[in-house]
């Protein structure tokens, strides 16, 4: 299990834009499962929407992107490589099936479809309990610090 402090070290994103709370499972280069707890104190709940807080779909995509970036980063660390970090390049066939609200815990499951050179393709499912709230495919490029 990988805790929040370790996640913050592995991700390029910084607090308050770190959207993954804990990694539950990790199969280097292949699969990762992480969780994100949704709370009513997050900024979205005041604005999206007033008196009816719904976690924005775009942030669910960001949760998946950060979970994927963790898989890539931690796998590189394991291989003692450092080729860069994932940046979101495309969102394909991504659907939102159920509403996510404060109090929900997202279980983010990411499976690698293909990683080559400076590109990666992943498939993801996001669940709350036994209910799938979103699923789809994301593609990434690999960025390096200038």
């Amino acid at each position: 299990m990988i805790n929040f402090n370790e996640i913050c070290k592995a991700l390029k994103q910084k607090v308050p834009f770190v959207l993954v709370d804990k990694v539950l499972e990790l199969d280097y280069g292949k699969r990762i499962v992480a969780i994100k707890n949704i709370t009513g104190s997050e900024a979205f709940s005041e604005y999206h929407f007033p008196n009816n807080p719904i976690y924005p779909g775009v942030l669910i995509i960001e949760c998946v992107a950060q979970t994927s970036a963790l898989l890539f980063s931690l796998s590189q660390e394991q291989e003692k490589e450092q080729n860069g970090y994932l940046v979101l390049g495309g969102v394909q066939r991504f659907s939102f099936m159920n509403i996510v609200r404060p109090g929900d815990t997202l279980r983010i499951e990411v499976n690698t479809i293909k990683i080559i050179d400076n590109m990666a393709l992943i498939k993801a499912a996001v669940r709350v309990g036994d209910t799938t709230v979103a699923e789809g495919q994301l593609s990434f490029g690999v960025a390096k610090d200038e």
Binding site: G89, Q92, I113, M119, L121
Partner: protein, 78 residues
């Protein structure tokens, strides 16, 4: 399995153009506006459909339908 028919189906879905409208010689990049990440999708989809692993170096050759069919045929018949 009809290689060509399956590849038409895959490319049509990824590009978002009906199979009947696909020009087999058209350039994915210049004519259909496909970028390298979408090309990677095509590569992954044909690998999954035909149970093959294509050398990533070949991705740069996968620039049109005819080229994809040619490369997949090489692997399927090997």
């Amino acid at each position: 399995m009809d290689t060509s028919k399956e590849i038409y189906k895959i490319v049509s879905e990824i590009i978002g153009i009906s199979e009947s409208e696909l020009d087999p010689n058209a350039s994915f990049m210049d004519d259909y506006g496909l970028d390298s990440l979408r090309a990677l999708e095509i590569l992954a989809a044909v690998e999954n459909t035909f149970g093959i692993i294509i050398n990533p170096e070949r991705l740069r050759e996968m620039t049109s339908l005819v080229n994809v069919i040619k490369i997949v045929d090489e692997y399927v018949s090997a």
